[in-house]
């Protein structure tokens, strides 16, 4: 027996399996990051004084530009598939992976600068929440890279067998990637500017 709603949408929900699954997953992610953002607010409001200007705005702004660009290339990878442009799809997906790696390299240098000044998580409450939030976000970036590399490698076989299902999977990857980018859109002003 075949699993229903792999490609076609269910009449009552208007969703197929992959879209329902990814949105349920993203809902749990909202709760995870929501809890950490709430922790940040509680720590900041309760602190007698809060350090400001500890982080390099240039590093943060550069990473913001990188992630916004990667969301554009990700959506282009999906749109190319919808237009049956296989070569363009792979190119845009590869560029997205490259931008994600660029983000991580940038983050590595930022971490290295702080660690060099002994500004590690135990240094103060600000750095504890900074490393927690950006570290978790960085892990999500790594997760996205792994998924995209899978679709550039062995996962690409599905495109020949069932192109619609493959397109749906790329759309789900794109939704995840946009969520990860959206978290950064909130992290940047909260940690670097305010």
């Amino acid at each position: 027996m075949e699993i229903p709603y792999i490609v076609e949408t269910r009449a009552d929900t208007g969703l197929n399996n992959v879209k329902l699954g990814i949105w349920l997953f993203l809902a749990s992610e909202v709760m995870l990051f929501g809890a950490l953002f709430s922790t940040y607010i509680i720590l900041r409001v309760g602190a007698p004084e809060w350090p400001r200007g500890e982080l390099s705005v240039i590093f943060g702004a550069a990473n913001t530009i990188i992630l916004i660009s990667s969301s554009v290339t990700m959506v282009m990878a999906w749109a190319s598939l919808k237009m049956h442009a296989w070569g363009k799809h792979r190119f845009y997906l590869l560029v997205t992976v490259g931008l994600a790696l660029f983000f991580l390299v940038n983050k590595f240098f930022e971490y290295a600068e702080h660690v060099g000044k002994h500004e590690i998580p135990s240094y103060n409450t600000f750095f504890a929440i900074y490393y927690t939030l950006t570290g978790l976000h960085g892990l999500h970036i790594v997760g996205g890279i792994v998924v995209m590399l899978y679709f550039l490698g062995p996962g690409a076989k599905l495109a020949k067998k069932n192109p619609d299902q493959f397109t749906n999977r790329i759309e789900a990857t794109g939704l995840y990637w946009h969520f990860v980018d959206l978290v950064w859109i909130f992290l940047f002003p909260v940690l670097y500017l305010l």
Binding site: I68, H178, D181
Partner: protein, 65 residues
């Protein structure tokens, strides 16, 4: 929500961020001065305009996807 709709939402929020960043840089320029902050205001607003143009074009061109 489709990826197309989520992307448009993301671009809209990115535009808001560029405006927020420009306001922040403007405030820093007023209090501390420095050409870097003035440049940041201009670049941020330019990015905001570019993202708005991109978002509009994306919405128009992907209507049938």
């Amino acid at each position: 929500m489709s990826l197309r709709a989520f992307h448009l939402l993301f671009i809209a929020l990115s535009v808001i961020l560029t405006v927020f960043f420009a306001v922040w840089a403007g405030a820093q320029y007023q209090s501390a001065g420095g050409a870097g902050f003035a440049l940041a205001v201009v670049l941020s607003l330019a990015c905001g305009v570019a993202l708005t143009v991109y978002g509009t074009a994306f919405q128009r061109k992907t209507r049938r996807l």
